[in-house]
Symmetry: C2
Subunit: 267 residues, 2 copies
């Protein structure tokens, strides 16, 4: 039987990673293993690793680190005990000098002993918490990709890495804004509290109907646009620095971890 | 007039750093610039920097990073705009191969271009918040150093750095424990919530009257020992790894930053 979202949905993270490892699942991971944290992937040669780790330390909202592996290490230790980072992600993007070179289903053949793996939190985790609290998540309702915007807020630079913060936008009814701040504040390791609420032009976003990435969503009458730091930021920043090599997950094709979203909550 | 705690207490962090820079203050910094965050200092040659940064990323409770400078950089950017890390700390400890070699008032003469500076949060910040909430801080009441214990809780190792977590202990009346958890949870970047509450033997601490560092304090009838991760942990871990060179602040002689404790609070 071919795995589909329907018959895969109930699988554990371990079972999903096994399917992916065998090449039987190469589709997006949204909706899989609900309740478990999914992670963004960035792999860089060691010579860039200190700068990138420092960039993440200085910009925890767009770059919330869940796990960093030692140079050459391809097995996770904290996000799962049986994962192989070279095979357990459905699709990888391979960039050379900042340009997408190929999209592949495993990277064992190009793995090098000086590769350093970074796994970063993903907003799936807090969106689940928002839905549980009956806060609308419009792009899920409308079955679209979240709208993302490049802001005029500079990240704090580190070594070769610098660039503007990218944000996601979710329109929220006024009476639910305080609650959505509270809920996402609990998830500091997956972007945390909003970085801006209201007038988009203040952060350099001119047209909410024309996101830089993702899809536009409906903003209903009276709803306020609320902006969260976005995991596209580190990827954009890395691409801008044009490293010899960088491997990321393909958009939406995330690492499915054994960590419960609830374990990420700080309060 | 010779600066004393009394006539120095009202000075701003900038004024205090200027005094220190001129060699006019080489005493402990507790009680100075109340309301402003003070920081622990660790300086390491670049070859150890990635491992140590990774160690801090993996162990945020004992090693809460407030700022990390680029290799060779001696001016802080985020904790203050005018500080020189080579002169603005009252006393430095210089370690070679893990052994204390000297205690000095400035390090300009031994500064090298590959030095990486780490500034870590300090429990002074949350103790001030506890006092404001009428939670007793026994070692302050008894005018002693906080009692510190080496636990059986292993830190997550990173590269050459590994070792047990060191904790501080504060005895708290039962009815104030929940509040002390809430208050310190707000200060995730200065050790955050307790790591253990109650029976000390569970974390390998045999005798609360015999701390490994600092002084014993009175535990009143009915009070529960509450344990927080301690900034001595990273220093102990670095010493254990015996790097060629490591420079730290001398105990109690901290970096006084321009950051308000309140700015560190996450909620």
């Amino acid at each position: 039987m071919r795995p589909t979202l329907k018959n895969t949905q109930k699988l554990t993270p371990r079972e999903i990673r096994a399917l992916i490892r065998k090449g039987k699942w190469d589709e997006p991971t949204a909706g899989l293993a609900m309740g478990y944290a999914q992670a963004n992937l960035v792999i860089l040669p060691q010579k860039y690793a200190f700068d990138f780790l420092l960039f993440c330390q200085r910009n925890p909202k767009p770059c919330p680190l869940l796990e960093v592996l030692e140079p050459g290490e391809f097995r996770t230790k904290f996000l799962s005990s049986d994962a192989d980072i070279r095979t357990d992600i459905p699709r990888y993007n391979v960039f050379r000098k900042g340009k997408l070179q190929s999209t592949v289903k495993e990277i064992r053949n190009i793995w090098k002993r000086d590769f350093v793996t970074f796994l970063l939190g993903c907003s799936f985790s807090f969106e689940e918490a928002m839905l549980r609290s009956k806060i609308p998540v419009r792009h899920i309702e409308e079955n679209r990709n979240v709208p993302m915007f490049i802001t005029n807020i500079p990240c704090k630079s580190a070594g070769v890495f610098h660039g503007p913060m990218v944000v996601t936008m979710r329109p929220i009814p006024p009476e639910k804004i305080a609650r959505s701040v509270q809920i996402t504040s609990r998830y500091a390791s997956v972007h945390g509290a909003p970085i801006h609420i209201g007038d988009a032009t203040v952060i350099g976003v001119k047209n909410l109907r024309k996101p830089d990435f993702g899809d536009p969503v409906t903003i209903k009458k009276g709803e306020i646009p609320v902006f969260w730091a976005c995991g596209v930021t580190p990827q954009a920043v890395v691409m801008e620095a044009k490293p010899d090599l960088c491997i990321t997950h393909a958009p939406g094709h995330m690492f499915v971890s054994d960590l419960l979203n609830e374990e990420l909550a700080i309060l």
